[in-house]
């Protein structure tokens, strides 16, 4: 239609200005989409937490161990359905400065861990193989792909928290229940860890890093927390019990200042998009004051004028936004590749896409508002008087 042709022709009048505007919006939208992706990736850990799981850890710090003997006592609490435990292993795998070698490694109870975490999807055979062999391990699908691990492979690493040279044999490769589940972990038998430690540092044997509890009823969680912590309040190692969600949040909140600033920056970017576009549209509308007055003289109505200005604004915002969004994907993917285990889940979420598109459209409309109303307010006689 004619009006679209005129919008296009108007937009192409100052090719460099239009190009720079679109480029500016494109870069800003890319930055916006990328930052939002980081923010959502960061909070994914909290969101995927289960509603019936609780974590019991040392009262003082997560890194201090608890006696394994607590397990029976916790299990005995009436609202507790099942208890499992795990240790953070740490260790150094190959070049520790390469991010891809920095994946989580944990010693877990092979009998109960996967019952409490059904998010790990494993075949029955893999699970049985894992339980049979003392130094067996299970790795995430994404991790296996990243390093080329296959069933039967030996993974060797040097311990740091638990010194010595450690060899693990891959007996299973798990998939996440859905795409939000971290597929970069490596899990091995707690007994393997404990036996080696018993030989080398007997004082450290029989300890677990933390307990994971499954409760029968979500409403019982506060009671369970109180009961567990009271149970050990006079012990050598006091406990702190909280829901998995609270536990995850305490991790995330360590970095929450960074996340909050990233979020703030993403909002600032919206402002930048607006300013870039508003500047271009205002300039264009001012330059064309006389032309708009001529159009009005010829009988064109306010709707036509609004259409011309807002249309051009939306065209630039739309093009810049689409390009920026298109760029968000490869950039996020590249980032995820660079730090494969840092953000286990790093997807450009639908909500990010929707937000980026809305931001661009919103900017397109707002940027056109003032030039449009200024143009409409200008009387024809005044507009025609305008020189240039």
């Amino acid at each position: 239609m004619f009006i679209f042709r005129l919008i296009l022709k108007n937009a192409l009048r100052h090719k460099l200005r239009t190009f720079l505007t679109i480029l500016g919006i494109c870069i800003a939208v890319t930055a916006f989409g990328f930052l939002r992706t980081i923010v959502t990736a960061w909070s994914a850990g909290v969101e995927m937490s289960s509603v019936t799981r609780m974590i019991t850890r040392h009262k003082v710090s997560f890194i201090m161990p608890l006696p394994k003997s607590y397990r029976e006592k916790i299990q005995a609490i009436s609202d507790v359905d099942l208890v499992t435990y795990a240790n953070w292993f740490g260790g150094l795998y190959k070049d520790p400065n390469d991010w891809k070698n920095f994946f989580p490694r944990m010693a877990v109870d092979p009998e109960t861990y996967f019952d409490i975490y059904p998010e790990f999807v494993l075949s029955e055979k893999e699970l049985l193989d894992f339980r049979k062999e003392r130094n067996a391990c299970i790795v995430g699908n994404k991790l296996a792909k990243e390093h080329g691990f296959k069933i039967g492979d030996i993974i060797s690493m040097d311990g740091d928290i638990y010194p010595g040279k450690w060899d693990f044999v891959v007996r299973g490769i798990y998939k996440g229940k859905d795409e939000t589940w971290d597929e970069t972990q490596m899990l091995f038998q707690w007994d393997y860890l404990n036996e080696r430690i018993a030989q080398q540092q007997p004082t450290r044997q029989g300890n677990v890093g933390w307990y994971v509890l499954r409760v029968k009823d979500q409403n019982a969680m506060p009671i369970v927390a109180r009961e567990v912590d009271e149970l050990f309040s006079n012990s050598r190692a006091g406990t702190k019990t909280e829901t998995e969600k609270e536990f995850q949040q305490s991790f995330v909140s360590m970095s929450s200042a960074i996340i909050t600033s990233l979020e703030a920056i993403s909002y600032i970017i919206i402002g930048i998009i607006l300013l870039i576009l508003a500047n271009t549209i205002a300039m264009a509308a001012r330059e064309r004051t006389r032309e708009y007055a001529v159009l009005k003289t010829l009988g064109f109505s306010s709707i036509h004028i609004v259409g011309l200005i807002a249309g051009e604004s939306l065209l630039l915002a739309g093009l810049g936004g689409a390009l920026g969004l298109a760029l968000t994907f490869p950039i996020s993917a590249g980032f995820a590749k660079l730090f494969p285990t840092f953000f286990p889940i790093f997807n450009v979420e639908d909500i990010t896409i929707i937000l980026a598109v809305s931001v661009a459209l919103f900017a397109g409309i707002i940027a056109a508002t003032f030039p449009t109303s200024a143009t409409l307010r200008t009387k024809i006689a005044d507009g025609l008087r305008q020189i240039g």
Binding site: L12, E291, V294, L298, S301, I380, A381, L384
Partner: protein
């Protein structure tokens, strides 16, 4: 109030507010233009010629008095009705042509027809007829910047007459042109008046242009006199 002219300007006043000062431009002006007239309005710069022309053409409104064109009291029309009225009844020619720079000659002439219900084919016929009339049939795909001033003004004339309006207003149509081009433009306007019976009100500084008109009036210090 009396009279039965095609254009009936009756006791019209118009002032502008410049900062705090009120500038009286037109005071109690009356003017009757019969149908088919070719009227030239002369007067010193700043005397209010453009202002009067704008009132007649319905692109501005008087503070007092009435303007009736072809039996329509244009002050009684709302904004959009007035816009529609202009599109149907008035053709505009400006000193600086005022073509859309991004549109070709053809598209510029087509512009007023976009507000009509004519079919594509009819529009094409109208545009081509108008461009033929001004002698620019071979320049239809040129952009304004590729045309000379005289040619641009001829495109503007084609745009003014493509909707076949009864009234044509021209504000210093030769003011920016060399002698030869001005001559061509005046010949065209004369033809529009004689052949196509358009009523023309033309503001001009140029005595040679005024010669082509049937009647010349002078506007000076808010007063309109026959000349």
């Amino acid at each position: 109030m009396a009279g039965n002219g095609f254009i009936q300007v009756d006791k019209v006043s118009k002032s502008y507010q410049r900062d705090t000062i009120k500038v009286e431009v037109l005071t109690n002006i009356s003017l009757t233009v019969p149908e088919g007239e070719f009227l030239a309005l002369m007067g010193p710069s700043g005397s209010g010629k453009t202002t009067l022309l704008n009132l007649i053409a319905g692109i501005d409104r008087p503070d007092q008095g009435t303007v009736v064109v072809n039996t329509v009291d244009i002050d009684g029309l709302g904004e959009s009705a007035l816009a529609k009225w202009r599109a149907n009844n008035v053709g505009f020619i400006f000193q600086f042509y005022n073509l859309m720079p991004v549109l070709t000659a053809y598209e510029n002439v087509e512009l007023p027809l976009l507000l009509t219900k004519l079919s594509k084919k009819e529009k094409k016929e109208h545009v081509e007829t108008a461009l033929n009339l001004v002698g620019l049939a071979d320049r239809i795909h040129h952009y304004p910047r590729q045309l000379s001033g005289g040619q641009e003004q001829r495109v503007a004339i084609a745009r003014a007459l493509v909707t076949d309006p009864a009234l044509i207003v021209a504000d210093e149509p030769t003011g920016d042109l060399d002698k030869v081009s001005a001559e061509e433009i005046m010949t065209l306007l004369e033809r529009l008046n004689k052949e196509f019976k358009k009523t023309i009100v033309m503001v001009t500084h140029d005595p040679r242009a005024a010669e082509k008109a049937h009647k010349v009036m002078h506007l000076d210090k808010g007063e309109l006199t026959k000349g």
